[in-house]
Structures are given as C-alpha cells and as structure tokens.
C-alpha cells in the first residue's frame, strides 16, 4: 500500500507520513444473516494464498479450531439456550477488528512493523516484524498469531491490497447472504442502524451494533442480536480495552524510566565532579626503598610517640 497515508506507526515517536487523507472504511458483519457456510474463510485463504494444516474435528463446527498464522478469519459457532428454552445458533466471523486505538500497535517494539492507515486498516509489515509476540500481549481480542515457520506475526489485513485499489475484501465479495458488507464507516453505521430497526421489529429487543468505544471504535463491526451481551458470541469482549497493564508497560513509564537511567548516570558524573573520588591516603605501590642511599629531607621531622621526649630529640 501507499506510504503517504500512515496515521500511526509502531515504536515511532514522531509523526509518520500521513499527508494523504482517506475516508475511514469499515467491514460490517451481520451475525443475524450469517449461515455459517465458511465461504469467507475459503475466500480469505484463496486471496491471501494461505493453506493451513488440516486439523482434527473436536466435536464443534469450528474448523479449524482457532485462528493461526494461516487462518486469519474463522467462524465461531455458539449454541445458546435462551431463557424460554429456545436454542439459538450464534455464528460469529472472528478476525482482526482493526481498532482505532490498536493494542497491538501500542505494544509493538519494532518501528514500522505495525501501521495504521488513514482509512483505518491496521496492517502488519512482516518485513519489520521481529517475532516477539508483543502484539498478542497488547491485543484485546486475541487475534495475532506467530507463525511457527517464519516466526512473524500474522492477522487479517482487511485485504489492504484489495482496498487500496478500490476493491472490497475477499470475504465480503464471496459472502452469499450479504452478511458481510464493506464501505465507508459512516455508510456501514447507517446500514447497521437499518438492520437493527428490522431486528427489533422481529423481537430482538437487544439488537445493536458492536463498535466498542474502549478501543476508539473498530473498523470491523458486528450487528448482534444480543448487543447487551457480546460475550455470548464465543467470548467477544463486552467492553474491550487495551489492558491497563499494557498501558502501564508501554505508556509514560518507559520514557520516565529512560529519563531516570540517564539521570542516574549524570548524578554519578556530577558526584565525581563535585565530591571527587575516594582515595586511600597511603601510596598503594610505594617505590622500592634503596637502602644504599640515605636520603634525608630536612623539612621532615620524625616523631615517634612511643619514645619519651619531644619531637626535637628525634631528628636524625
């Protein structure tokens, strides 16, 4: 993608190249329309040339079991029994949420390994990735995965390569029910609002949009039947935030710690300048005494306190 539209860059304390303004985009995933066909998973793997290992069935429809460096999106299936005894099959397409305030980017120690574009896409640049996994530590949604082949972090790119040339993400293009739509973030909110009105009229009183404020909003949003309890959807966080531990770890404490280390060095230097070194008064390595020469310094008066008499009597 172009490098003139980067509005945030990992491990960078100056402004990135962000002259080009773009409209914010968003992918809207309507869980109420999803039939769990996994076409989006296939499209993702096709477009991005990803071929994950064939795994094992663990007794659920989730396939594969979890996101991986080669599975950037995954349908998660939840069987939810309502209070009235009815069963609901909640299916959520999991993947990177493209947070406005990305925890991965905040935690990353490598300059430029994670960037956020003006259109809202959070992208990993594996060329700069060092494989430390701090992005996983920082992410409130448990999304990034480290590849066991090249030890780089991977996740959904929101098809940044397609979006940059005016195409929609591969998963959006393939979705047969229109459960995944893509456009400007404002348009997607309008679309979601219409869907929510429709759902409420059908008895889903708690239907709503998942665009959590705790991470500044996201560029992947969900329409949920139960927006009051997002955790029903395979543990989607109710109120995702960057963990305060990560905030403390990566926030103001780091520059302050650097300052303290620099101050300690300076304090030592000025202690030396003002107070000076501690030397032992006696010469540590006295010159060998040449006994053949009897040298007398007339200015030196030897006084032995163990012998009687005043100092005058002891002069050589």
């Amino acid at each position: 993608m172009a490098s003139q539209d980067i509005i945030a860059r990992s491990a960078t304390t100056t402004a990135p190249s962000s002259i080009r303004q773009l409209e914010e985009v968003a992918k809207l995933i309507d869980t109420t329309k999803c039939i769990g066909c996994k076409a989006c998973q296939v499209a993702c793997s096709e477009w991005n040339e990803l071929r994950d290992e064939v795994g094992h069935n663990h007794g659920t429809y989730d396939n594969p079991q979890d996101l991986s460096a080669e599975t950037w999106t995954l349908m998660r299936f939840t069987e939810h029994e309502r209070d009235d005894g009815n069963l609901e099959w909640l299916i959520r397409k999991d993947g990177c949420m493209h947070c406005a305030d990305p925890g991965c980017l905040k935690a990353c120690p490598s300059p430029g390994a994670i960037i956020k574009h003006a259109n809202g896409i959070v992208d990993f640049n594996q060329d700069h990735c060092i494989g430390c996994g701090y992005c996983i530590t920082g992410c409130p949604f448990n999304i990034p995965r480290i590849s066991q082949k090249d030890h780089k972090a991977y996740k959904c790119t929101l098809c940044s390569d397609r979006v940059s040339v005016g195409l929609e993400p591969a998963c959006v293009k393939t979705c047969p029910t229109g459960a995944i739509v893509f456009g400007s973030k404002d348009e997607m909110k309008v679309h979601a609002a219409e869907r929510i009105v429709d759902l409420k009229s059908r008895g889903f009183d708690n239907a709503g949009l998942y665009d959590p404020d705790g991470v500044g909003g996201t560029h992947v949003m969900y329409v949920l039947h139960h927006a009051d309890t997002p955790r029903l959807y395979a543990g989607l966080p109710d109120q995702p935030v960057i963990s305060p531990l990560v905030g403390l770890w990566k926030g103001i404490s780091k520059p302050l710690a650097l300052l303290a280390m620099g101050a300690a060095v300076l304090a030592g230097f000025f202690h030396y300048v003002r107070v000076g070194p501690q030397r032992v008064e006696e010469d540590e390595h006295p010159a060998p005494v040449d006994n053949s020469v009897h040298q007398v310094d007339p200015a030196v008066h030897v006084y032995d306190p163990t012998k009687p008499g005043g100092p005058g009597e002891q002069r050589p």
Binding site: A11, T12, T13, P109, S110, P111, H128, I130, G131, C132, G133, Y134, I136, T137, N142, I146, H151, S243, L245, V246, L248, W249, S253, K254, P255, A257, L258, A260, M261, A264, V265, G268, H271, Y272, V275, G276, P277, Q278, R279, V280, E281, E282, E284, H285, P286
Partner: protein, 220 residues
C-alpha cells in the same frame, strides 16, 4: 611503615573474578538487547546483535545465562551479605559516606550496607526477570500461560530490568568513585591501607590485626 604493611591482600580469587566478569559481560549483552526492545529510542541497539529478530532470539538466552552465572556469585558471597547492626548505622550515616567524610561512619566487614543492599536487589531483580522472562518467552513457553499472566509478566520484566540497570549504574559508579575497588575485581589485590579504610572489620579478620588502641584507654 614496615615491609608487611606493603604486602597487598587478595580480595577476590581468580574464580570469583572470572565469575563476576562473565556475569558483567552477560549483563551488558542482555541489558543492551533488552533496552533495544524497551523503548523505540533505543531500538538501534538491536543492530549490535544482528537486527531485530536476532535480538529477540538472543536476549532470553543471554538472560538465562546471566542468571545461572549470577547464582554462582550468590553461592560465593551470600554469607557476607547479611545486614548487621553496624550496617543500619552505616545507612543512617550515608550522607557522610557520600561526601567522603569518614568520621562517625562505623567500621564494616567485607561489604558495606550499600553493597549488601545491591546484592539482595540484584538477586530479587534476577529472580523476577527469570520468572517473568519465561512467561513472555514466546517461542517456547508463552502458550503455557494465559494472557493476564503474560501482560503482568511483561510489565514486571520491564520494571525489574529497569531496577537492575539502575542498580548496576550505581554499582559501576561506586567502582569509579572508590579508587582501588576496580583493581580488586580485575587482578584481585587490594592494599592494606585500602582494606583498612574501606572494610576495617574484614581487614582485621583476614590479617588477624587487633583494633587500634584507643588513646587514654588500656587494652585488656
């Protein structure tokens, strides 16, 4: 001054010195590679280790090696590092010590209270660094721990590293400030005068010297 007065005292034997400097070298390598990941302003330090990925690969091994060799120092020196009543007095008189004024500063053994506190601080930091470092060692161990533990360990690791580096800055400066102490760790020997001035009780212990007579009082 007789001939015996000029005979230096061995403060650290060859094994102790070697162990110390192995820890020191590993500290610098683990410390610099850790600082590279500590703050973006220091990321350039990763070039010393062959780039970011190599820094990430090497840092934990360097840290574990540092810990193992530091244990060698602990085994050698922990007995000499118990805090005594004299040490508390010494700490209360730290202002005089800092100004190179000896009056009223109690005589001390092999280590003064500052050195002892440093010893225990380093041991504590090393333990925290080791334990938290294992938790955030993504390649081998992180999958055994949940995300909350990893986040806490990341914070603890950075904090312990910070305290360790700060402590070593003090340690290095003390070596520069107190002339003769670097020699003790480089070639092992200190002068009698140095030992008497800085570690009087230890001096008496190794030489068998009695304390100097107090004027006006009989020895008995």
């Amino acid at each position: 001054m007789n001939q015996r007065e000029h005979k230096p005292i061995l403060r650290y034997n060859a094994n102790e010195r070697t162990n110390h400097w192995i820890v020191a070298i590993l500290f610098f390598m683990a410390g610099l590679s850790g600082l590279a990941l500590f703050h973006p302003a220091l990321f350039w330090l990763s070039h010393l280790f062959g780039g970011g990925p190599w820094t990430r690969i090497l840092h934990p091994f360097l840290g574990v090696a540092m810990f193992v060799f530091f244990l060698g120092l602990v085994v050698r020196f922990w007995r000499a590092n118990f805090i005594t009543a004299n040490d508390r007095l010494w700490l209360r008189r730290i202002d005089r010590v800092m100004l190179n004024k000896e009056e009223g500063v109690p005589p001390i053994g092999k280590y003064n209270a500052g050195q002892k506190l440093l010893f225990w601080t380093l041991l504590l930091c090393m333990l925290v660094l080791l334990l938290s470092g294992v938790v955030i060692w993504r390649a081998y161990f992180s999958h055994f721990f949940d995300i909350g533990a990893i986040r806490l360990a990341s914070l603890a690791h950075a904090f312990a590293g910070f305290v360790l580096i700060l402590s070593i800055i003090v340690h290095i400066y003390a070596g520069i400030w107190i002339k003769g102490s670097v020699g003790a760790m480089l070639h092992g020997w200190v002068s009698r005068a140095w030992a008497r001035k800085h570690h009087e009780l230890w001096y008496r212990e190794v030489t068998g010297d009695k304390p100097p007579p107090v004027p006006g009082r009989k020895e008995g």
